[in-house]
Amino acid sequence: MSASLEAYLARLYLDADARRAFAADPRGAAARAGLDETDVAALEQIDHAGLELTARSLQAKRQARPRRGWLARLLVR
């Protein structure tokens, strides 16, 4: 179920507490999230350093999003 995996990844990327719980027990945390055995097994093999870097990167990019409406401010009085 890719939708379930995407939902769980979104939680891991956004929630430091969820990442800590997952790091302590990847199989248990993934299973409790309702993922099927294939996805649980995939998450057991996850690159934890990459996961943390991804979470930090997403946070930084959210904060750096471009402003809305700047073209109107530039070209329209």
Binding site: A42, G50, S57
Partner: protein, 282 residues
């Protein structure tokens, strides 16, 4: 370089004045479509005015097409309004998911590279085509983590994505470079495996090294640094491998240098294209 290759810049507020003062050196601009989703008539008129002055393409960042979840109809309706008002020369989106389980990531995440995602992607692109009136070119994304749940490598995923949607690939060469560095594959070999006949649009950008304490370093695609030499080498390689006219956008999203510096990067991209084309002619 073939006369029909074009090189332009991502349109950003910090660069607007410099671009408008140098339209003889900027072949086109790429505008973030999301900035105009839900915008008023004044903002859309301003965008229409810009499109009269310089060829324009739109680039989306928040549809989340590469997902098992269906793309929101309201988002597509809003995008269709922008596309209809501006009539861009094309539009694009990312091969990424941006939300899941009711949570908004606020940016792009590489999806599991597997059939279930492909099925969702194909359905989402078909929906986008039906509502917007045309299909987006689909852009490969950079990632700092090998997407969990994947059963194929990136070149195979990109080829499958293009085949499943019948669309085009917007090939971001810095994303390809970053992933090659981060996951230890050869970017040029990967390039050779891509469906290059379906590539007309290209992104180039820069990034930075990052790393965890004690962990191996990785390349972050931050768009805040100059385009590195390996990316220009990939551009030359691409130009040698496809006869398609290529439209290249230099992306910059922070730490903006003087416009002359960016215009020099556009010239360097033109040189790389010319070098690749010359290899074919030789």
């Amino acid at each position: 370089m073939r006369g029909y290759d074009r090189v332009g810049l991502g349109w950003r507020p910090e660069l607007a004045a410099g671009i408008l003062a140098n339209l003889d050196r900027v072949d086109l601009v790429e505008v973030i479509a999301d900035d105009y989703v839900g915008a008023g008539r004044g903002a859309l008129r301003a965008l229409q005015t810009l499109a009269i002055q310089v060829p324009l393409v739109l680039h989306g960042i928040s549809l989340g097409l590469a997902s098992a979840a269906p793309v929101d109809r309201r988002r597509l309706d809003a995008l269709a309004r922008v596309v209809g008002a501006v009539e861009p020369q094309g539009w694009s989106e990312h091969l990424a998911f941006v939300r899941g389980g009711g949570l908004e990531l606020g940016h792009l995440a590489a999806p599991p590279r597997r059939d279930a995602t492909l099925g969702g992607l194909a359905a989402n692109v078909a929906r986008a085509r039906a509502i917007v009136g045309s299909a987006p070119a689909l852009e490969n994304v950079a990632t700092l983590i090998d997407p969990p749940g994947s059963d194929r490598d990136e070149p195979a995923w990109l080829a499958d994505a293009v085949a499943a949607t019948g669309g085009e690939l917007l090939l971001d060469l810095h994303n390809l470079h970053a992933n090659a560095v981060n996951f230890g594959f050869d970017a040029h070999a990967a390039l050779a495996r891509l469906p290059l006949a379906r590539v007309r649009f290209v992104h180039v950008a820069g990034g930075a090294w990052i790393g965890n304490d004690g962990g191996r370093r990785r390349v972050l695609d931050d768009h805040r640094h100059d385009v590195p030499a390996p990316v220009f080498e990939l551009l030359a390689d691409l130009a040698a491998r496809t006869p398609n006219p290529l439209t290249v956008i230099v992306e910059r999203d922070g730490d903006y240098p003087p416009i002359e510096h960016l215009l020099a990067e556009l010239d360097r991209a033109r040189s790389a294209l010319a070098g690749g084309r010359a290899r074919v002619a030789a």
